[in-house]
Amino acid sequence: MIADHHHPADLAPVEARVAAIESVLVEKGVIDTEMLDQIVQNFEDNLGPMNGAKVVARAWTDSAYKERLLSDGTAAIAELGFHGPQGEYMVVVESTPVVHNLVVCTLCSCYPWPTLGIPPKWYKAPAYRSRAIREPRKLLAEMGTVIPDDVEIRVWDSSAEARYLVLPMRPEGTAELSEEQLAGIITRDSMIGVARL
């Protein structure tokens, strides 16, 4: 619904409730609106899969970095300047010709904000959260990603203790690309594991 100057739109109950929570917390001095603006702005401007893509591109082009990334994801990701809420306890899982990795959060929506931003809608949907565990191969095929039968699918259930990022396989024919060019071909979905590159 679009509101205009003369006819403000009615608020949905949930929208009004969130506004009420904000206003009482601001009134109490617990939080301030500027802080909220900054958090939202940060999500919009700075957090997103473009960060994860830089991590993956570095791992593809620097084997020492890749080793650090696989042994201590949080520290290696922080080397590139990506850290903060939901970026703790990062575990990077490498997909190979024989293993395909898929990330889900079955109980809520744990997701690595610094490297991938806000999760897409389907990631939070009950169907994805349950089927990723129960029938990952079928689910992936329906999402357009057919994983050959001889490739093992490993499903990683995110939690507060571990947030996963998939290190996808580097596609063939990309030997000539620079690190920056590589980052440009790495998609969010490939880092969740619902797509291959």
Partner: protein, 94 residues
Amino acid sequence: MSGLDDESLPRDNGELVFEALWEARALAIAVALVDKLGLPWDAFRHRLMDEIATDPQRPYYESWSAALESMVIDLKLTTPAALDKAAPTERTPL
């Protein structure tokens, strides 16, 4: 804030980062609150998990909002009555 203009909303890999401003706000309040109070993120996450489990088909950010409300009430930062009183009925015109 009014006049939700689709084109002005941030997109990320072709998808909206937030579908509505109140969703962004709800997320930011939870992030700011645990930060300000020095709580672990789990303090919020467990409530979110419970709310999702209670009503799996409810839209995600409605569960988020319910988790936020239960947290601020349990922390004694407000009461349901105070929230009822503070709830606006219309969007503020620009």
